[in-house]
């Protein structure tokens, strides 16, 4: 099912189908990247007896944006959270098969999940800044990983905030409580906080579902900015969003990866009738 989507951007601009109007007019050309960064082989996730994600095989390409869509309860979030082992928090959760990150098994015996999470950052559905100052929020990760020099921290913070396109809005109140920001600002702050750890992969779990349209647009712009620098995976229930921001799309239904193809192809010419029914809104 894992289709080659390496040429996704080109093919998207080549074809001029109706759905392409959702794509941003100009897409940054990604230099480098395109190798299989995360590879799932017969990968299943169980909650106790219940198999929530069933034998998934997929390649996630580096530096591209991969969207995961599907009706609620289809296992898309579970799959995303498996990549940085956030599912470890649920005691009954266990896996089978292999999930490789840069060729190393994420669920291997000798894998240190803490070091893994440093490389695989995550942004959650609801903005969740710590009840601390903006500065401390961003500095949290670098401090964890041994940066204590104030000047260096400041550098990292400025860089991360600029990358997350929020520097201009908060640069004069870094010492204020982060909970005082608006929802959209908080979410971008959370992105900045994740970027400060310098991850390779960015997992976004429905990052705009709690935001208003304006803030959503800003986050989407941000994803476009980051595209090419990070491997990004985004879970979304909003198909327009998936088609706007992603290079390839995975469609999950009841735990099964039904189709994985370049976004343009999946939205214009789905292979599976189920996918077609879903994207045309026959069920949700």
């Amino acid at each position: 099912m894992a289709t080659d989507v390496r040429q996704a951007p080109e093919s998207a601009s080549a074809k001029k189908s109706t759905r392409d109007i959702y794509l941003p007019p100009e897409r940054k050309v990604v230099t480098g990247g395109g190798e299989a960064h995360i590879v799932a082989k017969n990968f299943s996730i169980y909650y106790g007896e219940f198999e929530a994600v069933k034998k998934v095989n997929a390649d996630i390409l580096s530096k591209y944006v991969t969207a995961i869509i599907g009706p609620s309860g289809c296992g898309k979030s579970t799959f995303l959270r498996a990549i940085n082992r956030m599912n470890d928090l649920i005691p009954s959760c266990h896996t089978s098969g292999t999930l490789l990150f840069d060729g190393a098994d994420i669920y291997g015996k000798n894998t240190d999940e803490v070091l893994l999470r440093k490389k695989v950052g995550m942004v959650f559905q609801k903005p969740n800044p710590f009840p601390k100052s903006i500065f401390d929020n961003i500095a949290y990760g670098p401090r964890l990983h041994g940066v204590s020099d104030k000047k260096k921290l400041m550098e990292i913070i400025e860089r991360s905030l600029k990358k997350a396109a929020i520097w201009d809005e908060v640069c004069d109140r870094l010492d204020k409580n982060a909970l005082g920001l608006s929802g959209g600002q908080q979410q971008r702050l959370c992105v900045a906080r994740t970027l400060a750890v310098e991850p390779e992969v960015l997992l976004l779990d429905e990052p705009t579902s709690a935001l208003d349209p304006k803030a959503t647009a800003k986050i989407e712009d941000l994803i476009q900015e980051l595209r090419g620098s990070y491997t990004i995976m985004i879970v979304t229930h909003n198909m327009q969003q998936a088609s706007r921001v992603s290079d390839s799309t995975m469609f999950f239904y009841e735990g099964v990866l039904v189709e994985h193809a370049s976004t343009a192809q999946l939205f214009t010419n789905p292979k599976d009738p189920m996918t077609e029914d879903y994207i045309t809104g026959r069920f949700s």
Binding site: K109, T111, D112, L116, K118, K119
Partner: protein, 387 residues
């Protein structure tokens, strides 16, 4: 650990450690968790120790004196020669004040809990809750002091009048209600509205006269009562009920809150009044939680020491007649507190060990009732969540 990690090389899959390093890391984590577990298990160890050490000093008493005297005789002369250790009157005293306080605290506590959860608007509830918390916070010795210095003289000097006023204030509204309800029920079957009205009025007047007569008569009898001693079972029961109330109110309120909104709405939608909704649907649904609250409240009264020690009169006899709350009594807790100082701890005479036997009795009762109330709460939660 964090600093050590950051020093890793930039190899892209550096999150995979060497087998030895991973094993060492796991060992450290497990050791840490083990330490946490030991500290968390500290409580369980303490509970075992309490049982063990109280039982260790209680067993010798039963070895020396056997069981029957302790539980059946009322002769408590631990200092005499030969000594007598009949604790029946003391156990009876404990039961009596506990029951007395429950009789006052349970109806009031449940009514207050209902009021808090279903009747009061949120803004008032915010002020009512701290009142209850304050009542719970006042140290028992302060209650004991109040019982001894304020309430006891008051009872001794004007007890009869006090009882009469309490009777009038508390009972007259209930009698009035009974009159109205009885008249209504008796006229219910009459179809003709006019005749029913007439009959209703006559019955209300008739019952009303009877009720007033009863009220006055009992009031006069109560007024004539002379309370010999202010430090008696009634005094202690009243104060203990103050102390049990906060527990009963807060635990029952939790139980009532746990009954969902939909049940309430379902009842209102069928045309029930608030009282009917509460009495017929909410209370039965919350009944086991309320039972647990009552058990916890009663335990608070049974285990209380200072109030009974200061204000129960400490006289080891079964009151005459057995329900006479106006006589002095003595309880298990007060006996332990009062006699430990005189008992010989070093050689450990029967006089010392009998106090531990009492302690063990209290401990077992509290343990069982705790288990029971816990089970009840768990069961109610299961029923309400539909499992």
């Amino acid at each position: 650990m964090a600093a050590e990690r950051s020093g890793e090389s930039t190899r892209s899959n550096d999150f995979v450690l060497s087998a030895r390093k991973r094993a060492a890391q796991k060992l450290i984590t497990q050791f840490g968790e083990g330490v946490l577990f030991v500290l968390a298990a500290f409580v369980a160890i303490i509970v075992l120790f309490i049982f063990f050490f109280v039982a260790r000093d209680a067993v010798p008493f039963f070895q020396i004196r056997g069981f029957s005297e302790f539980f059946t005789s009322s002769n408590w002369y631990p200092a005499d020669d030969p000594a007598e250790f009949g604790a029946f009157a003391i156990i009876y005293g404990s039961a009596m004040v506990t029951l007395g306080s429950a009789l006052i605290a349970v109806p009031m506590g449940v009514a207050a809990a209902i009021c808090l959860s279903d009747i009061l608007p949120f803004s008032i509830r915010q002020y009512a809750k701290p009142v209850i918390e304050m009542l719970a916070a006042i140290p028992s010795v302060a209650f004991g002091f109040f019982a001894l210095v304020v309430l006891a003289p008051l009872m001794q000097n004007s007890g009869g009048a006090l009882l009469m006023w309490v009777w009038w204030i508390l009972v007259s509204p209930f009698l009035l209600l009974t009159v109205i309800v009885a008249a209504d029920l008796l006229t219910n079957t009459i179809q003709d509205e006019k005749r029913r009205q007439q009959r209703y009025v006559t019955l209300v007047v008739l019952f009303g006269v009877i009720a007033i007569a009863v009220l006055l008569k009992v009031g006069a009898v109560l007024n004539g009562i002379q309370i010999i001693t202010g430090t008696n079972a009634l005094n202690v029961s009243i104060i203990l009920s103050f102390m049990a109330l906060p527990t009963i109110v807060s635990v029952s309120e939790d139980a009532l809150q746990a009954v969902g909104r939909d049940i309430r709405e379902g009842s209102y939608a069928l045309g029930a009044t608030r009282a009917e909704t509460i009495v017929k649907t909410i209370l039965p649904a919350a009944s086991s939680g309320i039972l647990a609250a009552v058990i916890l409240g009663i335990m608070r009264a049974l285990g209380e020491t200072m109030v009974v020690w200061m204000a129960s009169g400490n006289s080891s006899h079964v009151p005459e007649p057995w329900f006479n709350y106006l006589e002095a009594v003595r309880t298990l807790t007060a006996t332990i507190a009062g006699d430990m100082g005189e008992a010989d701890q070093v050689t450990g005479s029967a006089r010392f060990h009998v106090l531990f036997a009492m302690g063990l009795l209290l401990l077992i009762i509290s343990f069982i009732s705790n288990l029971v109330s816990e089970r009840i709460v768990v069961r109610q939660r299961k029923i309400l969540t539909g499992q």
